[in-house]
Amino acid sequence: MRFVILRKSDATMESDIPASPELFQAMREYDEEMKKAGVLVAVERLQPTSHGTRVRLSKGEFSTMDGPFSETKELIAGVTMIEVPSKEEAIAWIKRCPTLCSEDVEAEFEIRPVLDCG
């Protein structure tokens, strides 16, 4: 089963302060681990929404709005697609994310099974 995992953003990830080299390295190792386990399909970490743009269509009119966006809880900081036999395994992979190491971390992920077009 293919799942998209959305990592919800927070104030740190919304800032332009880059992650520490150690964290970068840990993230690379984490990706590598998923790849070696044969489960990783794709992974992208996103720039803060200050670099993003929203495109809307309403009543036949397109409008665009540049970031940053305010409703931090709903913002997405990263997208991972994995292929695993069960949702439990997707959850088990999330729990290994190196950004969750320290005690005081508050984080939210959303797991969404990919729509089976077939």
Partner: protein, 425 residues
């Protein structure tokens, strides 16, 4: 967490960790059977303790530590036993029985251990059925029951197969190692063969009510992808991965309403999984870049890629496919490849030329009982307007297949040809 949720979590963790556990433990105790028992003991401990204590923060590490302790106990017992034997003055084989530094042993490149585990599970000393069962069990993390259900055989059969395989490996003193030099190609092909057998059983179930068993395809794909990471310089590994990815891309389109099979040229190609195709083409490029374009799996993947690249069936480059089959027949002569080549020839040059090839195969002993021979022959005859013979061939094919869905399809075609036959008479 509810008890069910905890069990599901344990299942997931087991699937993710068991191969690594068993691989690391085999290196310590030097016996894949004992290693698996130790890993199982750790699993049982988890099943007993986690519902009470909750799932530990690092479940994989927990299992590893628990198993390590059991391994240590095991080695100590063995050492004590050996000392006793010494006291009795019995002759002992010179054997190093010092307890190794377990932490170092387990943290040392686990990838190498996994690769060794793949090679030992697929050792040529085992029957191909045993290799498949052992691979699914030791590397795929499937339970005996799951394997039995996937293969529609009693659980006891699989359990016995696994026990025997482990015993054979111990008796023959098969070393836990990655083969080198001249031995490597043959041993690797044994591993690839086992993975592809698993895939194929999932892709075209040889028996039963379902045309496909996607779970087995996914297991095989995952094993293939893991192997490609472990042995990135082996072209044929990428060839096999490419082949499986591209074939799997058609899974959704291969089954119609009510689970009926849909043949390649009738499939709705919009339902092919573009992501898997892309992964397959990338893997094929890697195989080719490593100089492996003429390996049997890479060639089959190239054929599959020809289909994948054609957006509609009419765009298929049949001439190229025939060329690839010609090459495949040269390096891997087999009546089944020859039969597939005939199908490609019929598309490239018409049914006459193909029928000649197929007729040459009808006396082939290894194809006796192979339902696709009369099935292909029936199709060719129908294309030539010889509907009566075509119907007879399809009926024969229907009798031969053990897959219910396929039988229905063949009988339907037989009826179709019968109608044509009535129409022309």
């Amino acid at each position: 967490m509810t008890a069910t949720a905890i069990h599901n979590t344990i299942d997931a963790v087991w699937r993710m960790e068991s191969a690594k556990l068993i691989a690391g433990l085999t290196r310590i105790v030097r016996d894949v059977g004992i290693a698996e028992d130790l890993a199982q003991e750790a699993l049982i401990a988890a099943l007993e303790q986690w519902p009470e204590s909750g799932v530990p923060e690092k479940p994989g590490a927990w299992l590893m530590t628990t198993a390590k302790h059991r391994a240590l106990d095991h080695l100590r017992r063995r050492q004590m036993l050996d000392r006793k034997h010494e006291e009795l003055g019995r002759e002992l084989e010179a054997q190093e029985l010092t307890v190794p530094d377990l932490n170092a042993a387990l943290d040392d490149d686990i990838g190498d251990d996994l690769l060794r585990l793949m090679f030992i599970a697929c050792h040529p000393v085992l029957s191909s059925e045993a290799r498949v069962a052992l691979t699914l069990r030791l590397l795929g993390g499937l339970t005996t029951d799951e394997i039995a259900r996937a293969y529609l055989v009693p659980e006891a059969t699989i359990a016995q197969r696994i026990v025997r395989a482990k015993r054979t490996l111990a008796q023959e003193h098969i070393p836990f190692e990655v083969p080198r030099g001249r031995e490597l190609p043959q041993r690797l092909s044994s591993v690839l063969g086992a993975i592809y057998l698993i895939f194929n059983e999932g892709y075209s179930a040889t028996a039963g009510d379902d045309w496909m068993r996607p779970g087995l395809c996914e297991d095989a794909l995952r094993l293939g992808r893991i192997l490609a990471e472990l042995a990135p310089l082996e072209a044929e590994v990428h060839g096999l991965v490419a082949l499986m990815e591209i074939q799997a891309s058609r899974s959704a389109a291969r089954t119609g309403p009510e689970g009926r099979p849909v043949l390649l040229l009738d499939q709705d190609r919009a339902r092919w999984d573009r992501l898997l195709i892309q992964r397959g083409l990338t893997a094929l490029e890697r195989a080719n870049a490593l100089g492996g374009s003429r390996g049997p799996y890479a060639l089959q993947a190239s054929i599959a890629a020809c289909h994948a690249r054609a957006l509609v069936a009419e765009d298929t480059d049949w001439a190229r496919i025939v060329e690839l089959y010609n090459e495949l027949v040269r390096i891997m002569p087999s009546p089944i490849v020859e039969l597939n080549r005939a199908v490609a020839v019929s598309m490239a040059s018409g049914p006459d030329a193909a029928l000649e090839l197929v007729d040459a195969l009808t006396g082939e002993p290894s194809l006796k009982g192979y339902h696709l021979l009369p099935s292909v022959r029936g199709d060719l005859l129908a294309k030539l307007g010889r509907y009566d013979e075509a119907r007879a061939e399809c009926e024969r094919a229907a009798q031969m297949t053990r897959n219910v869905r396929e039988r229905e399809l063949l009988l339907e075609r037989a009826r179709e040809f019968a109608a044509h036959s009535a129409g022309t008479n």
